[in-house]
């Protein structure tokens, strides 16, 4: 028991904030694994990162107005996804340029709103929460909405799974089979904004890319089939999230009473998993 106590500090499983973090974070990890695999094979990693950064404007506004931060992140992410699709840029270089410019503008708004947050409410925590997440501060009341958003993302991706896979492979292969390639792309962008919103809520807007891209990129190195890649990405994300929560909770005991941020541990585990997957012995199997 003493060994178990050393790994899992007393009170871990009975702590309300820990359970809320595990549920909301776990949901975010599962959705990110699913959506991340498609995002990586479609070459939209930068778009995913930008959606997250831009959504931080919504997160910071919600602190200011006192509304549910999930709704703030979500509203802005979906708007930005729609704008990216409307721009309808075909050339990758042009797309990256516009994405980068919109991303800059979004972060500028975030800076303004966070300034208002601090000056009107003297809450210095808002900036850290929005950008880097504060998982143990997630209110339990957020669980139903976040699970609903996650279920929506999984459902949409499940419905368009095959057309999305085919059009990710080559848009013409999908178009010749009568797949509405643009609509499928738009739906994926919508799902991407849902996934990004969930992970922005947990590990923060800036770090959400890590949860979206890291497990997916690792899984793509190891799996040979799309379904396996998705399951593996979900498991890596889930392992990193729950492992990160555990380590952060434990870090209260190692440090002099200040636990380190959960986001740090999650991102570090994801990074290590990616490095490990590059080992030749693992890669050669795929």
């Amino acid at each position: 028991m003493s060994l178990l106590n050393a790994i899992v500090s007393p009170g871990f499983f009975t702590s309300g904030p820990v359970l809320t973090a595990a549920v909301v974070g776990g949901g975010a990890a599962i959705v990110s694994g699913l959506v991340g695999v498609f995002t990586v094979i479609r070459g939209q990693s930068f778009a995913g990162h930008s959606l997250a950064d831009v959504s931080s404007a919504g997160g910071s506004v919600s602190f200011l107005l006192g509304i549910n931060p999930l709704l703030g992140f979500l509203g802005v992410a979906v708007l930005a996804a729609g704008a990216m699709e409307l721009a309808g840029l075909r050339r990758a270089q042009e797309r990256d340029l516009v994405t980068g410019i919109v991303l800059g503008a979004g972060l500028g708004l975030t800076a303004l709103f966070l300034y208002f947050d601090m000056s009107t409410q003297s809450t210095t925590g808002a900036a850290i929460s929005v950008m880097f997440g504060s998982m143990f501060a997630i209110p339990a009341s957020l669980i139903p909405l976040s699970l609903g958003v996650g279920a929506g993302a999984v459902l949409i991706t499940g419905v368009i799974y095959r057309p999305l896979l085919l059009s990710s492979l080559h848009p013409d292969l999908a178009a010749v089979r009568g797949v509405p390639v643009r609509l499928v792309g738009l739906l994926h962008l919508l799902v991407l904004s849902l996934a990004v919103t969930l992970s922005a809520m947990t590990i923060g807007a800036i770090l959400s890319t890590a949860l979206l891209i890291g497990p997916a990129a690792t899984a793509l190195r190891l799996a040979r089939r799309p379904g396996h890649a998705i399951l593996l990405a979900m498991l890596i994300g889930l392992g990193a999230t729950w492992g990160g929560i555990l380590l952060a909770y434990d870090s209260y005991d190692w440090t002099s009473g200040h636990s380190w941020p959960v986001s740090f541990f999650i991102v570090t585990i994801i990074f290590l998993a990616y490095l490990l997957s590059g080992l030749p012995t693992l890669r050669s199997r795929a």
Binding site: V40, I41, V159, R162, L169, D172, V179
Partner: protein
Amino acid sequence: MLEAARPGTAEALTVDRLSLSFPGHAVLREVTFSLAQGAFCGLIGSNGSGKTTLLRTILGFQPPQSGEVRIGGLAGPRGRSSIGYVPQKIILDTDMPLRARDLVALGLDGNRLGLPFPSRARARRVDEMLQAVDALAFADQRVGNLSGGQQQRVLIAHALIRRPRLLLLDEPLANLDVRAVADIVTLLRRVAVEDNITVLVSAHDMNPLLSSMDRIVYLANGRAASGTTEEVVRTEVLSALYGHHIDVIRVHGRVLVIAAGAADEIPIAVERHPAHVAEIP
């Protein structure tokens, strides 16, 4: 290899006075030809002659300004539903989590909604198709790890698994080694003859197709000439098509198409593909 395509008296493909221009230049000018069911045909022309645009117009990706395309006598989406297609320069990333057999299965039901549920009938159909293109040996490898010729085989299986009436391939022989080129041509010829599927292959070099083509559609300056190779690949016909004098030279069973004259009238085939000259035995 497959069940014979449905019999029909209608031509497999009819292209009727098809015209299309992009701002500043006409890409296709009243292109007209038709192909019989089960014919093996080459769509030949130098780079930029409009081959890809013509294929994309047949596929319905690019609306023409005038003219019509009919497939099996049907215009519009109903006709197009019986096309199989292998696009140009498809890049299958090595990290793409897709085995050869997954790519072929996507040809069967990649347009359907919902998750794919494995069924024995589906797996058998995919196996038959892989067998038909000699791809069973590497069916479980990632598509990104296959050679160019192996990838073409898998893409052809993907395009054929729904038993189309017409198979279009955009430059399937580009970037393949000599051996793979010969293998793919043999495979496509077999598809046309044994399965009664009309196969239209675009290529900037007609030589690998020369001995097996039933018909040739030659594109230059947006205009097309079609017929048998003997009818089309002649000095008079190609000179009329290009609008200036062209020499057609036959050497050791190969054909060279060369624009004669001043240095600014650069040879069409030779200029862009100097390797063709070097290849002459």
